[in-house]
């Protein structure tokens, strides 16, 4: 339970919310640097999503596209989604072995709010790529995937 006080704490039903995000993903809401959508169109639970992050310019990630899996559990959006990189990446906060994103390492996940969204998470990950500590990390060859 949370202390709710409108307008910022209206509890939106999960599916409603996810449908909205689905639509936004299809309409390209945002700056065009991340993309997201249902992994499977038939997924009526709207649980499994794929995300894509376009590596930011002037970093070592430039020109690469990073595919992710995002899972929105039953308590979404009250609870943050699980995020995992599919495309191999060397980034602080992402487990080297399986691409799982450490919730504590990403502010949007660590301090999740129900007004956040998949897009927010993806954009935050992209921002992390631009951080000084990340932007020059040596990367695996393009196209490699995590072995999970």
């Amino acid at each position: 339970g949370k202390t709710c006080a409108p307008p910022h704490c209206v509890k939106v039903p999960r599916n409603f919310r996810l449908l909205e995000e689905l639509e936004e993903g299809q309409k390209g809401v945002g700056d065009g640097t991340v993309s997201w959508g249902l992994e499977d169109d038939e997924d009526i639970m709207l649980t499994r999503w794929t995300g894509m992050i376009i590596g930011p310019p002037r970093t070592i990630y430039e020109n690469r596209m990073y595919s992710l899996k995002v899972e929105c559990g039953p308590r979404y959006p009250e609870s943050p989604p699980f995020v995992r990189f599919v495309t191999k990446i060397n980034l602080n906060g992402v487990h080297n072995s399986n691409g799982v994103v450490d919730t504590r390492a990403v502010a949007a996940l660590a301090k999740w709010q129900n007004s956040y969204s998949i897009r927010v998470v993806l954009q935050e990950l992209r921002r992390l790529m631009m951080c000084k500590e990340n932007m020059k990390l040596p990367q695996p060859p393009e196209g490699q995937l995590f072995s999970n």
């Binding site: 299809q26 309409k27 390209g28 065009g32 993309s35 169109d41 894509m52 430039e62 020109n63």
Partner: protein
Amino acid sequence: MAENSGTDPTVDSNVVENAASDGTMIVVTVKTPKDKEEIAISEDSSVAQFKEEISKRFNAKQDQLVLIFAGKILKDGDTLNQHGIKDGLTVHLVIKTAPKTTVGGTSQSSASSSGTPQANSSINPSAVPNASTTPGTGPTPASTQPPNLLSGFGDLSSLSGMGMGSANFMEMQQQMQRQLMSNPEMLSQIMDNPLVQNMMSNPDLMRQMIVTNPQMQQLMERNPEISHMLNNPELMRQTMELARNPAMMQEMMRNQDRALSNLESIPGGYNALRRMYTDIQEPMFSAAREQFGNNPFSPSRTENREPLPNPWGPPGTSPSESRGTGASTTTTSSAGGTAPSASNPLGINASGLGNGVFGSPGMQSLMQQISENPQLMQNMLSAPYMRSMMQSLAQNPELASQGSNPTAATNPSQQQQQLMQQMLQMFAGGGGGSLTLTPEVRFQQQLDQLSAMGFINREANLQALIATGGDINAAIERLLGSQPS
């Protein structure tokens, strides 16, 4: 089953079992991080066909295109339908510019434009005067160093257009600068490098470099004339010529000095020059100094430190000398007490301006005359040596910002020239109007703030403000640090 809508069965080259596919045209928005286009395509198209259209519209090769929809990469063999791409939806496009390889390959100039300008926006300015002030030092066996730097350029180019904002870049820059500073021979080697020369021969590039330098930007904000000057390709080109050719630069400096000594003989001009110096040159010097650490040219400092002949200066030291050495500080201290008054629109206080140079009432009246009579300035302007001076003037801000501060002899000329230029522009630009922007007026707000804070010595406040170019915080430090002089 689908509606019939004037259809192209030929469009449908792909799977879609649905024979009743109608090939309806849909409009899909294709969005790149920079751009957005709406593309009409048959809804049954394959991704490959879609890419064909896109490649035309975005002017890119098909195999460079990567399409993303709803978090998935669209493969050529897929269909739009398969991914649920319908009318009005947005697809993300990434145009792959074959990283690192092409960027290096695409013409030196672009590589250098992306890689080097940012590095060089601060480096090259310093590179230039160093090359000029250490002309004789031919290529040295310091061959190990330049390659480092230049390979630094190479790496930079691969980061295609890395901007000044990147912290890492700044470090590299600073390192390079330090290296350059400490080793003049390296500089001349760098100057000899065709890459650098190439870049320097590109006015746009140079301009960009200068412009991207944050201090220059600040400077430009405060002094729009500078940006005008930068926008003048002719001037830029000349400057670059100069920069490339140290010998020529020296020559030019000598010319300038000669012209200046002529200028000095114009009463009143000197004063205005000084005024302007504090507006332009000082911030530049401090900006340059910031970048270059302290005196960047200590090795070459020994150049001609003799002050220019000073027609007005009674006691030995000419204001040029005092200006020359301590650029910011000395000037401001000698700029003391410039409280503008009605008769003295440029705010020049005879007594305050050290060494009694500006002490003569004659000067003041002349200044007043000048300010009242723009025509006088025009006349001054048309004097032949003025022409050459103006040209040199224009180049000077660059030179100045390159921190060629130590050369005392050339210093006053530069300062004067800049002041001259600003003055000229001021006057040319419409009579007395601009002249009323005395420091006091300009810093009115700051003065008020200072006095509200308890700094009641208005004159000292004004001096401090002038010295810091209107920066209140710096002025306060000045006032607190040195008892108002």
